[in-house]
């Protein structure tokens, strides 16, 4: 279990290291999704290393652990990087991403890695699964909380809103969604493909407690995650404004890198930019 206190600077350093891992594992794999992994990694770093979630890498299925579901499963490099840093999987597994005969599936798979809480990759499913887990905690009188990260493009799936409606109906206070609002989906800018605005008003109308933050400001992320833990009888969502490809200049807001791995030369430039 993680109990020591960490500074914002330490977390920022960790996030930078995990960004290096992300670009490196994608370059080695030769395919995958850098943009949405880099936009999400600051939030995942805060969740796992900022004294937010309770977990035990030696016992990944510990019943009282907090759960994290990466509903936008294509950002799995970010999840793998965090799981390695937390000690759930060996770091050298990262370089096996997407290779045959390894547990490192191209999207999260519960069958392959015990610390993965839900198989995702078909967008739109994670929040419902998280809601089911949150309800089970209540039934079993367990203290755990469930966090689900969803994409902005993913929010176009009707199932997301079905889950949103159900979560407030069932008054689950132990469910927190995090929207990685990087303003791009696969085909282009979300405002041009299918706008989800006004997104704050939507979640409020669905009965959720809503907080908006800069999803790369570590202090704001931590504050929001602690705000989410305050006791209440409604689910909570953190709308995190992020930058797709954050941290690598040529990937930032460049949607070509939604689903394209960096070349060797691009990797070197990215690693230089992300150096400690």
């Amino acid at each position: 279990m993680v109990t020591t206190s960490v500074s914002v600077e330490q977390l920022e350093r960790t996030a930078r290291k995990l960004r290096r891992h992300i670009v490196k594992m994608l370059a080695i794999a030769g395919s995958g999704h850098p943009g949405g992994s880099l936009s999400a990694i600051d939030i995942l770093t805060a969740l796992f290393f900022g004294n937010v979630m309770r977990y035990d890498p030696k016992n990944p299925r510990w019943v009282e652990r907090d759960r994290f579901i990466l509903s936008k499963g294509h950002a799995v490099p970010a999840l793998y990087a965090v799981l390695a840093e937390a000690g759930f999987i060996p770091e050298d597994w990262l370089w096996q991403l997407r290779k045959i005969d390894t547990p490192m599936q191209g999207h999260p798979s519960v069958k392959d890695i015990p610390a993965v809480e839900a198989s995702t990759g078909s967008l739109g499913q994670g929040l419902s699964i998280g809601l089911g887990m949150a309800l089970a905690a209540r039934l079993d009188d367990k203290p755990y909380r469930v966090y689900v990260m969803i994409g902005d493009g993913e929010s176009e799936e009707g199932q997301v809103w079905e889950a949103a409606m159900a979560a407030s109906h069932f008054r689950v206070g132990n469910l927190t969604a995090i929207l990685d609002y990087n303003r791009y989906q696969l085909d282009g800018a979300i405002g041009e493909i299918m706008s989800i605005e006004p997104v704050v008003a939507k979640w409020e109308a669905f009965g959720w407690a809503v907080r908006e933050i800069d999803g790369h400001n570590m202090k704001q992320i931590l504050e929001a995650l602690h705000w989410a833990k305050e006791p209440r009888e409604q689910p909570s969502i953190i709308i995190a404004h992020t930058v797709k490809g954050k941290g690598v200049s040529f990937m930032e807001n460049n949607n070509e890198f939604h689903g394209k791995a960096p070349t060797q030369a691009e990797l070197e430039q990215a690693l230089a930019e992300l150096a400690d």
Partner: protein, 319 residues
């Protein structure tokens, strides 16, 4: 022996759609935030007014396609095979199949040859789902040229059609186009009398390669390109059963519900002979497409091995 690679069938689909768009103003296209992958982008570029990108919302997409079709449009709706078939199945059932709306569903990235993205993006059961919808014509073309014909035929056919295409470049089967393509009519690519290999999609090229290997061992194999899974060409199946006495079916799909099951039903009904099946029994995993095809037994060698065993089995039975 390996055939030259031609264009991906999804690429041929996108281009055929743009061509059709030029000829027929009634054609409309829908996509769910994958137009750069399904290749409907070609149509979108030329005919932005007749193209609807609905975002990541497949059920809504198919419902909208049904409405457009009910109002006289020929609606093509595309996404990855798994997403469009699985997520919009209820819409396909009631608004398309039961209602008989003129909707063409084209699922791209079918099969495990999509590779590294893994199970969540693979169409393992899309053909089975399409087959479970009465009234749906189900087409699985083998290469670019055949895809072009399939897309045209689908547009001309009045009623629901499902076309499954793939992600990787496809080996060329039809070097000079595919002019004899007819919905519901198998194409005999090679004649033979010891065994028949029936395949569709990428497995057609594998079956042709298998037939060459078999020829070297003195086994004469017939090869049928069964691009239409429904309506199945039962005459061609019966003829193959009668004339060759043994059938191997090969498909890049779960064997429970695809081409193999359909052919087996026809064989059982019309002229029972021993059969073997090359396909999937379980979900696959991430990996390079070629490595996956090997690991999950979808190669020319796998087809040839099954054919050899069938032929030997029959010879022993005769002795």
């Amino acid at each position: 022996m390996a055939r030259p690679l031609g264009e991906a069938t999804r690429e041929a689909y996108g281009k055929a759609l743009a061509e059709l768009g030029r000829e027929n103003p009634n054609i409309v296209v829908l996509d769910g935030d994958l137009s750069k992958s399904t290749m409907t982008k070609y149509f979108a570029q030329e005919f932005p007014d007749r193209f609807f990108n609905v975002g990541i919302a497949e059920a809504n997409m198919v419902g909208m396609a049904a409405g457009l079709a009910a109002s006289g449009k020929i609606a093509f709706a595309s996404s990855f095979a798994c997403f469009v078939m699985c997520k919009a199945f209820d819409q396909m059932r009631l608004a398309v199949a039961y209602s008989g709306n003129n909707v063409k569903i084209v699922g791209t990235h079918g099969g495990i040859s999509i590779g590294e993205d893994g199970v969540s993006q693979m169409g393992h059961e899309d053909i089975g789902l399409a087959l479970s919808l009465p009234g749906f014509v189900v087409l699985v073309p083998a290469d670019g040229a055949e895809t072009r014909e399939a897309v045209r035929a689908a547009a001309e056919h009045v009623g629901p059609v499902y076309i499954r295409v793939g992600r990787p470049k496809a080996p060329v089967v039809y070097e000079n186009g595919c002019p004899h393509f007819r919905i519901g009519k198998a194409i005999t690519l090679r004649d033979g009398d010891d065994v028949t290999l029936i395949a569709n999609g990428l497995m057609v090229a594998a079956a042709l390669d298998a037939a060459e290997t078999l020829a070297q061992q003195g086994i004469s194999a017939r090869v049928l390109d069964m691009h239409t899974v429904r309506p199945l060409d039962e005459e061609a199946v019966e003829k193959a059963a009668r004339e060759t006495g043994a059938i191997v079916v090969a498909e890049e799909h779960l064997l429970y519900t695809g081409l193999a099951s359909q052919v087996a039903m026809a064989v059982a009904k019309r002229y029972p002979v021993p059969m073997r099946f090359v396909g999937l029994y379980d979900y696959a995993e991430s990996g390079a497409p070629d490595a996956l095809m090997r690991k999950y037994g979808l190669t020319a060698e796998d087809i040839a091995r099954e054919a050899v065993e069938l032929v030997h089995m029959r010879q022993e039975a005769v002795v």
